[in-house]
């Protein structure tokens, strides 16, 4: 007698995929449905994330995929050498849990999730080589672990101070070394024309982002902060030409919306500048709470969004070394990552964003375990107090469980901003 067994036992990979798809789709559905006046051209981005994270489609079968661990690896050089940059910072709770087996209990969820992703070896676009700038301790140390999983992993020396001339020189050398390493790996020579083209292309993407941001300065903000985070997150892995096209479309739609004063937010919605640990798809927990509680994020100071696009490269003479040096400086000197010894730049930047985008307050998120953001909290709070800018500091992680407590605090803060605005009038 034979028993026909028709059921299939789910493999760990399948389970991981299923969980990640659930995380992704629940966010995407909420973005599609929970807010009024949805933007049509955002569908490209919703669909993109759905294809990659729910249907596990790969986007770059035909290209060499160059993994990067932080924003400091110049994607201009990667494009110039015919690779596709894939930023591997990870926002999935599923991967965070896998990574927990390798990292200390109190480690940063972003690093844990990234390590977990590597440990599972379950990629839609698997990186052929990974370059990691030695930024924070946890990412730096995670590197050797990831290498031990069998990946080709190269550290790119990154200085922890940025004020000295030595650090500038040091980083310029590091970037040159990175270009050499990658050029060897790709078996392709970096040429002036290629690099110039890549700089132009990234420059164009940056200018699109800045145009997008300009709409958020309007009194009636035509786009959710969540949507903008999604657009900038897509830049981590999307085909750049598709991204450019989709963003152009988005901008033309926003132009119409701005004219017709259509907004997903309410009239009295407090305008928020978001800073701190980066929201990375699908961990949009805090931005989601903010915008579901009638706040609107008008600007951000994070490495998953604004910091990637803000500073454009200028060059006097398009020589190879001038391009390299000018580019390198942007990735070091203009960077407001909290890993640096001092960070007045970040404070100045947040204050300026509040002014430019006429924000009512700042929400500062730090991942529990992201020591540097946790440590910098004090100085930022002090500076904001001095400027008379209301600020809320929140600690969160990737777990889906703490929603209630966080939303109470956010709601109270937003309410206080509304009262403040009313009193001012």
């Amino acid at each position: 007698m034979s028993i026909e067994t028709n059921h299939h036992i789910e493999s760990p990979k399948e389970k991981q995929n299923r969980h990640k798809a659930m995380e992704a789709i629940s966010l995407l559905n909420s973005l599609r449905e929970d807010f009024k006046a949805p933007i049509e051209s955002m569908e490209y981005f919703y669909d993109l994330f759905e294809r990659v994270h729910c249907k596990h489609e790969s986007l770059h079968d035909d290209k060499t995929k160059i993994g990067t661990m932080c924003i400091q690896i110049p994607s201009e050089i990667i494009y110039a050498l015919d690779g596709v940059p894939i930023r591997l910072c990870n926002g999935f709770y599923t991967d965070d849990e896998i990574g927990s087996d390798f990292m200390p209990q109190k480690a940063c969820p972003l690093v844990k999730a990234t390590v977990g992703h590597f440990a599972s070896n379950n990629f839609t676009d698997k990186p052929d080589i990974v370059f990691s700038p030695t930024t924070c301790d946890q990412k730096t140390k995670a590197g050797s672990m990831i290498e031990s999983f069998g990946y080709k992993f190269i550290d790119v020396d990154f200085p922890r101070t940025k004020d000295s001339e030595a650090s500038r020189e040091y980083w310029r050398r590091s970037v040159k070394q990175f270009a050499l390493d990658l050029s060897k790996f790709q078996g392709k020579k970096l040429t002036k024309a290629n690099l110039k083209n890549a700089i132009k292309k990234i420059g164009y993407a940056q200018s699109l982002y800045n145009k997008l941001s300009d709409f958020r300065k309007n009194e009636v903000v035509p786009i959710l902060g969540l949507d903008v985070f999604l657009v900038t997150n897509a830049f981590f892995f999307d085909k750049i030409d598709n991204w450019i096209e989709a963003t152009q479309k988005l901008i033309s739609e926003l132009e119409i919306r701005a004219k017709e004063k259509i907004s997903p937010a309410g009239k009295a919605s407090p305008r928020i500048v978001y800073t701190g640990s980066p929201p990375i798809f699908p961990n949009y927990k805090i931005p989601q709470i903010i915008e579901e509680s009638d706040g609107i994020i008008v600007a951000d100071e994070t490495c998953s969004s604004n910091r990637m696009f803000n500073d454009m490269v200028a060059i006097d003479e398009w020589n190879m070394y001038d391009m390299m040096d000018s580019m390198s400086d942007k990735y070091l000197k203009a960077c407001t990552c909290p890993i640096f010894t001092k960070n007045e730049d970040r404070i100045r930047r947040v204050i300026q964003l509040v002014r430019d985008y006429k924000a009512d307050g700042v929400i500062y998120q730090a991942f529990a375990g992201c020591t540097v953001y946790e440590m910098e909290q004090r100085s930022v709070l002090e500076a904001m107090e001095k400027e008379g800018i209301p600020i809320l500091y929140l600690e969160s992680d990737y777990s889906p469980s703490q929603g209630g407590q966080l939303s109470t605090r956010v709601e109270a803060f937003l309410e206080s901003l509304k009262t403040r605005r009313r009193n001012k009038k």
Partner: protein, 348 residues
């Protein structure tokens, strides 16, 4: 009454629209072209103006060297040296009035443009920019100083300025002989090079009349040779050592022209530093000073043109922003969005 106020309002609106239009036009302008033409015109005017009997006097704040007979103005340093070389007795008598007037005339010129005299008017500076364009065409990369060398070499212009001021007084006091007259001019590369514009190569010689002259003119010739080599490999090579630039800086605060920075808008991305011919680091790194004019600055305003942050850098006359950095202007000048497919050198 009601109509009247409305009219005024409309007029005001029109005016402010007009103002914004002009402002945008200037801020979006192609600085390179503007500069090229201003430089060309002033070069012709100052170097060959003599042919047209134009004369701007003898207290000009740029290197318009009278060793070239046809200049339309005279470099102030040469007059200053001659005036200071008067015998000490005369120097401290009422006869010092002409010296004072000379200084006032120099200041009168200077306050109009501040250091923009260097970046836009000085024929010697223009010549260096032309040599730079030649190098660019050939496709050779320029050189830069290391920070350490920069700081060491940056002092040389003050040494030259001391020579300009001190040696004539020593002559007047009878400490050194007349062979030292116009000490700096004898060493100055502009003395050797300027007459060449009108076909006079006679300054490429060493004056053997005395040991002093021999040494000074030999120095002049070596500086002139160095000038050509130097400015071929280094942008604005000589300006870095120019005593006139040092003299300018002493009076920089008297000018109606100010070069300002709003540090709170600066992200320290370093674009301004990248394009700076003079390698002035403060332009990118200093976010505290509002007056960002430094002693090496030639006020060419390339940094303003290369700054992507709105109003972070601006060039003011009477505290009115004449030329400000804007993202829009930046994108236009850098050809952002155009030229994605490489079509050669449209951005030159």
């Amino acid at each position: 009454m009601f109509i009247y106020t409305e009219e005024i309002e409309q007029n005001l609106l029109k005016k402010s629209n007009m103002k914004n239009k002009i402002r945008n036009f200037i801020n979006n302008g192609d600085l390179r072209k503007v500069r090229f033409w201003i430089q060309l015109v002033s070069f012709v005017l100052f170097v060959y103006g003599g042919y047209l009997a134009i004369n701007f006097g003898s207290s000009f704040p740029i290197f318009t060297c009278p060793y070239n007979q046809d200049v339309s103005a005279t470099c102030y340093l040469i007059s200053l040296q001659h005036q200071l070389a008067l015998p000490s007795k005369i120097l401290f008598s009422p006869a010092f009035i002409p010296i004072f007037i000379g200084l006032l005339t120099f200041l009168a010129w200077f306050i109009v443009l501040n250091k923009a005299w260097c970046g836009y008017m000085c024929p010697f500076g223009t010549l260096q920019d032309w040599i730079t364009s030649l190098r660019k065409k050939i496709g050779i990369r320029f050189s830069v100083y290391t920070r350490h060398h920069f700081e060491q070499l940056s002092k040389i212009k003050y040494v030259f300025l001391t020579i300009v001021l001190l040696f004539p007084i020593l002559i007047g006091a009878g400490v050194i002989s007349n062979n030292w007259s116009a000490t700096f001019c004898q060493m100055c590369p502009a003395r050797v090079i300027s007459p060449m514009f009108t076909g006079d190569f006679s300054q490429w010689s060493i004056d053997f009349s005395s040991k002093t002259n021999m040494i000074l003119t030999a120095l002049g010739i070596s500086f002139a040779s160095l000038f050509f080599i130097g400015s071929f490999v280094k942008k604005r090579f000589f300006c870095f050592f120019c005593p006139m630039s040092a003299l300018h800086y002493i009076f920089a605060n008297t000018s109606i022209v100010k070069f300002k920075k709003n540090g709170s808008k600066c992200t320290r991305c370093g674009d301004c530093y990248t394009v700076c011919d003079m390698q002035i680091k403060d332009i990118a790194d200093d976010v505290i000073s509002t007056n960002i004019l430094r002693d090496d600055c030639i006020l060419c305003l390339k940094c303003v043109a290369a700054c992507p942050e709105d109003d972070a850098l601006h060039f003011d006359i009477f505290n009115i922003k004449i030329f400000s950095s804007t993202r829009e202007g930046f994108e236009k000048r850098m050809n952002v969005g155009f030229n994605i497919k490489n079509d050669g050198e449209t951005d030159k």
